[in-house]
């Protein structure tokens, strides 16, 4: 009897619940140097904007305790070059392809969604309304129920593929935002994006990143992410994709138990390109050791103390 690791999220089939986090895996092509990307549950691309963006000037990153700050500034090659240069690889990568989009205003998102959802080989769109580093990137939308709903509604109207709303943790009431995007038609919710942070170097008295503020990611933020996944997955009916600080199979299990139907890994792959396949192997071993045949038995299965 084989294990079932397959999971359906809002009509997209994932061969396993481990996806790559946007902005942490380029456009998917670099990883082929290290492992067979078709083993991934899915690839989520760097946020794509209508026009190419250089992003913020260096330094764009800083290391923090069990985490890092980034203010990449949504540096990306833009819609046209993405379609021409990157889609050919993604079309034959052998797994589910989710394209992450970011815009300056709701109409940008709609334009991106319309075009991208019509491409062959794109299975879903993740809408980044939560990037803390740039105006474009939509934290202004992600920070209010109304703003979030407007973007998702517009995108939903034109998209031919399911829509995943990626939420920001930098809010007072994540459940309210989650319900707002659910009502606006989102097929799934992913969270969390990075926490707003800052670091200053006492030696130079300067900010450690040129943009002053950056997004905090990595194991440091995992407890915040697990709490939000738990709250949101109990409050909405659409499936939740969890991320934030995952670096091994045990972390994947923690998010599934909290209520995530799938997960993404970001920062951890910087140090270890093969973290996805290692975590998948560890997840499988956990299921065998604990007598689970189906990944769905783990989702939301946390028990009171």
């Amino acid at each position: 009897m084989g294990l079932n690791l397959e999971i359906n999220i809002a009509g997209i089939k994932l061969k396993n619940p481990i996806l790559t986090a946007s902005g942490c895996f380029g456009y998917g092509d670099e990883a082929s140097d290290f492992f067979d990307v078709s083993r991934l549950g899915g690839i989520i691309t760097k946020s794509i904007s209508l026009l190419p963006r250089v992003g913020h000037p260096p330094p764009k990153v800083a290391e923090t305790a069990s985490g890092m700050l980034n203010a990449i500034g949504l540096s990306n090659i833009g819609l046209e070059r993405f379609i021409n240069d990157k889609m050919p690889f993604l079309r034959k990568c052998g797994t589910t392809v989710i394209v992450n989009i970011a815009g300056k205003q709701p109409d940008d998102y709609a334009k991106l969604a319309e075009r991208i959802s019509s491409l062959s080989g794109v299975h879903a769109i993740e809408v980044n309304i939560s990037c803390p580093n740039v105006a474009e990137g939509g934290l202004e939308f992600g920070a209010s129920e109304k703003g979030a709903a407007v973007v998702i509604e517009k995108v939903k109207k034109v998209s031919r593929v399911p829509i995943i709303a990626k939420l920001s943790p930098n809010v007072t009431d994540i459940v309210a935002i989650a319900k707002a995007v659910e009502n606006a038609g989102a097929d799934s919710i992913s969270l969390i994006n990075t926490l707003v942070g800052m670091a200053i170097d006492p030696k130079t008295k300067k900010f450690k990143i040129s943009n002053k503020f950056g997004g905090l990611s990595g194991p440091a933020i995992k407890p915040v992410a697990v709490a939000m996944v738990y709250k949101v997955s109990r409050a909405v009916k659409i499936p939740v994709i969890g991320l934030g600080g995952i670096s091994c199979g045990t972390d994947v299990v923690e998010f599934l138990l909290a209520g995530a139907s799938a997960v993404q890994i970001g920062t951890a792959c910087f140090a270890e390109p093969k973290v996805f396949t290692r975590s998948l192997d560890e997840l499988t071993a956990y299921m065998v050791a604990n007598g689970h045949n189906d990944i769905r038995e783990l989702i939301g299965a946390v028990k009171d103390i």
Partner: protein, 268 residues
């Protein structure tokens, strides 16, 4: 196929108060390594540092890579405590190496401090390919004698080898750019390679002017394999892949670099 895995330290040596020499048994990496490429190194179990650390390959052969490491901060201090047989997690080889010189012109290689390894490796490979040693001039500078290393290895190459230290404790007193500048002024031609601090690279680029000149840059490197964009530096606009209204483009030091043509770099 690039490699990412655990490898054993074949030898570790403390050369001075702040330099260590490491040989690591890593056949799949050693076989592919080219001069100018680097590896990302992690100490398994040291999880506080979220990123690995990049080190240039000083030499590769017989299934081993050699690294020289300057003790600077947290991770390098930990590395200094390792012993023969300890395990390191290594990803590589990463980045593009140096391009070969266009012709059998005089070669000027300028190393600032810990920038020596990729240049040493380049010289070794060129000599192996039959490049005449008498055309090779290697300039190696550092703060002080304790920061200079690999001297015996270089002397054994029979090339023109010049030293400078800020405090005069070894070689000429002063910046290493100065002897290079003097020599280069004479011929005003040849191929130039340099690796070291940004200010030194800028000076070298200015001196080399319109000649073939390749520089190896340093940046913070969260991933080293091209996926995070954290290491990006500004290059002059060339209508290439990522460009915006601000008139420059970004290139990833880990992927498009670490070696760039001096002409492409946008100096602040």
């Amino acid at each position: 196929m690039k490699c990412s895995g655990n490898f054993q330290i074949a030898s570790i040596e403390r050369l001075s108060s702040n330099i260590i020499r490491l040989e690591i048994d890593s056949p799949p990496i050693a076989e592919q390594a080219r001069p100018g490429q680097f590896v990302q190194v992690r100490i398994p179990g040291k999880e506080t540092n979220i990123w690995p650390r990049p080190f240039s390959i000083h030499y590769a052969g017989d299934g081993r890579i050699t690294l020289y490491i300057k003790i600077l901060g947290k991770m390098t201090a930990c590395m200094a405590k390792l012993k023969n047989g300890d395990i390191l997690n290594i990803t590589g080889p990463l980045g593009n190496g140096f391009a070969e010189p266009p012709d059998q012109v005089p070669l000027y290689l300028v190393a600032g401090g810990i920038g020596l390894p990729p240049l040493y490796f380049l010289v070794c490979i060129l000599l192996k390919k039959g490049f005449p040693p008498e055309l090779i001039h290697l300039y190696s500078g550092a703060k002080s004698a304790a920061d200079l290393f690999a001297r015996d290895e270089i002397v054994a190459l029979n090339i023109d080898y010049r030293l400078a230290t800020d405090d005069g404790s070894c070689g000429v007193k002063g910046l290493i750019v100065e002897p290079f500048a003097k020599d280069f002024e004479k011929s005003k031609s040849g191929a130039v390679y340099a690796c070291g601090p940004m200010a030194m690279l800028a000076a070298v680029a200015k001196i080399a002017e319109k000649n073939f000149c390749q520089l190896s840059l340093e940046q913070l490197m969260p991933c080293g394999w091209g996926v995070c964009n954290g290491c990006a530096v500004k290059l002059k606009s060339d209508n290439s892949i990522v460009e915006d209204e601000r008139g420059f483009r970004l290139a990833r030091v880990c992927k498009e670099g670490p070696v760039f043509n001096a002409d492409d770099i946008l100096w602040d």
